[in-house]
Symmetry: C2
Subunit: 133 residues, 2 copies
């Protein structure tokens, strides 16, 4: 069940890793569109677009309403929330730059592993290719 969450993130990030699919989602953010309408802006076959849409569907990002022969695709953004939450967890790393003081504090707080890493960092800052003791 932890596994389940991971698989959802797999599918989400994997779906988002393709520029065509991201563009499709952006276009669906405007309003729902048929498969043909979704495919139109891209220089790919309808079958190719259909596959992309299926990937988005499997990731839960698109819901399909079949009405006659037209399949209307709607944006379903909830799964993105999990991804955003995962990323949010790292906010402090791009907000607060890892500086020397923090590294020093961490070295004194925790075990030898952190201390070694800090020493390495310090040594490297001082002399580029000299090895430490």
């Amino acid at each position: 069940m932890v596994d389940k969450k991971s698989e959802r993130l797999d599918a989400l990030f994997s779906a988002l890793s393709d520029p065509t699919r991201r563009a499709m989602l952006e276009s669906l953010a405007d309003h729902p569109r048929s498969v043909g309408e979704l495919a139109a802006p891209f220089d790919i076959s309808l079958a190719g677009a259909s596959k992309h849409i299926q990937v988005l569907e499997r990731a839960g990002l698109v819901r399909r309403e079949v009405s006659g022969r037209v399949h209307t695709c709607h944006l379903e953004a909830q799964p993105m929330h999990a991804g955003a939450e995962w990323l949010r967890h790292y906010e402090r790393w791009w907000t607060r730059r890892l500086d020397a003081l923090e590294a020093l504090l961490q070295a004194e707080d925790t075990g030898d592993r952190a201390r070694r890493a800090t020493a390495t960092r310090r040594a490297q800052a001082r002399t580029k290719s000299r090895s430490r003791k």
Copy 2:
């Protein structure tokens, strides 16, 4: 240069789409680790882990400090910011509550997302004229 941004997102989301790599990043969020330390928790060869780390590096998520024969890997989270921003763009879609059709579906079909297609078809027989542009 718009292209450039897209490529960065490609690399980012693609890097994040693998559970092993996400776990590596989580472990690096704690403190920097050597390649061997990063590989240890997983049941894969060192060479396999090395490849994962290279993917993370190419996505800009990991910086490597070579000190002697030890390669120490540091988390470099800036690239995640772009992904978080992209996702944030859709916040209103997952904030916004389920619409009438969704509510109807939930009432009829208790919670199982997998069988939504059939429920949709059922609901469609009733509300035929909804929401086409």
